[in-house]
């Protein structure tokens, strides 16, 4: 897919990611639906396939989930610069896309987090800070368990998906009770998946 982006378009892209940043409560992945709306449906700067494979690839690669934003920026840049076939100018524009989207999504939330947490750390003996941390602790722990549950339960077909549940359940037990290296477990999961057993 090939598109032309003016300087104003790049500005609009940057502003859009800036505005999304503070809405990303609960992780970058919560902004995915809006990024899809803006880039795929509205501006047509990104194809639907590129969007989906950006998310899949970010999940399959090491690093925080926010890497899917870098891939989205990369693909928009590729589309604007003629793709990998265009050689270095194409790659340069793709990297520019990464920079625009990643810096945009990072600046507002990082600034807020840094300022707020430095304040909270200086005032850690204050009742409000202690109450916040103590009060939120059980909720946060339950959220982790619920996230694990949702990621597994997402597959709605028990007859076909039961091996996924067994694998997730076994992983939970192994990580809870042993010190097995996490990469070993992930590699094992990838192998089972590649063989088509789950």
């Amino acid at each position: 897919m090939s598109i032309t982006l003016t300087l104003a378009d790049w500005g609009a892209l940057f502003l859009h990611f800036i505005s999304l940043s503070l809405l990303a409560v609960g992780g970058a992945i919560t902004t995915a639906p809006d990024i899809h709306r803006y880039l795929v449906d509205e501006t047509h700067w990104l194809s639907d396939t590129q969007f989906t494979s950006s998310i899949a690839l970010a999940q399959g690669a090491p690093g925080p989930n926010v890497m899917f934003i870098a891939l989205v920026g990369w693909n928009v840049g590729l589309n604007a610069g003629g793709g990998l076939a265009a050689g270095w100018p194409g790659i340069a524009l793709a990297l520019w896309g990464v920079l625009i989207t990643m810096v945009g999504i990072m600046i507002p939330s990082c600034t807020l987090t840094f300022v707020a947490t430095q304040w909270a750390h200086r005032n850690r003996e204050m009742l409000a800070v202690k109450a916040f941390k103590g009060g939120m602790a059980p909720i946060v722990i339950a959220l982790l368990i619920a996230t694990g549950w949702l990621l597994t339960g997402n597959h709605e077909n028990p007859a076909r998906d039961w091996p996924l549940w067994v694998l997730a359940g076994a992983t939970t037990l192994i990580v809870w009770k042993t010190k097995t290296h996490l990469l070993l477990l992930l590699g094992f999961g990838a192998l089972l998946g590649a063989l088509g057993w789950i």
Binding site: S109, F114, T117, L186, I198
Partner: protein
């Protein structure tokens, strides 16, 4: 007067240590970094006790932005101010960005094949298990909670039902149960202080 609080045995030595440590843990985190953060920073390096990790994770979760990014800013900033926060953040993001782009170039086309989809399914199931295991392990940290274990379990169960079973939006749950729990925690801390 104050809540009994364990102190972490170790701390990052300098900004390079922060950068390298966060690079190492980012490169191990497939499908999210949380499980690795808990394993590396709490169990191996012991920069944080389980209690501190839960508290910091609560803050990282509430603030906008990727959770792990927020956590890196908090830990870096606590030990070495703004330069420390930037060192931890760039450690977390730099190598994975380069790597994910290299992978994108290498596998252009492969990501949509059945084998790649199968691998992602398998890794997805494992990472679901990893996240749930971190939650279960951290339940031990609640025994020092000012609200007491029983209230914590009740509050946790409500959260799990709302998010995991009823699938309510995260914002609703955080904005309703969150303040309720914090007000009760504040009450309990005051009670303990008065006793």
């Amino acid at each position: 007067m104050t809540t009994p609080h364990s102190v972490a045995p170790n701390a990052p030595q300098n900004k390079t240590d922060l950068f390298v440590s966060f690079t190492v843990l980012a490169l191990q985190g497939f499908g999210g970094v949380l499980a690795v953060v808990q394993r590396e920073l709490v169990e191996k390096k012991q920069w944080l006790t389980p209690d501190e990790f839960v508290e910091d994770w609560a803050v990282a979760q509430i603030l906008p932005g990727p959770n792990v990014v927020n956590l890196s800013l908090m830990i870096g900033g606590r030990h070495f101010g703004l330069p420390g926060a930037l060192a931890a953040l760039s450690g977390l993001l730099l190598a994975p960005t380069v790597l994910v782009l290299l992978i994108a170039i290498a596998v252009a086309g492969f990501a949509d094949t059945p084998v790649a989809q199968g691998m992602l399914r398998g890794m997805g199931a494992v990472s679901a298990g990893l996240i749930a295991a971190v939650g279960i392990k951290l339940m031990g940290a609640l025994k020092n909670n000012p609200m007491g274990m029983l209230t914590c379990i009740g509050m946790g169960a409500l959260t799990f039902i709302a998010i995991g079973l009823l699938r309510l939006p995260l914002a609703w749950v955080l904005l309703s149960l969150g303040p309720l729990s914090c007000v009760w925690a504040s009450h309990c801390i005051k009670q303990r202080g008065a006793a």
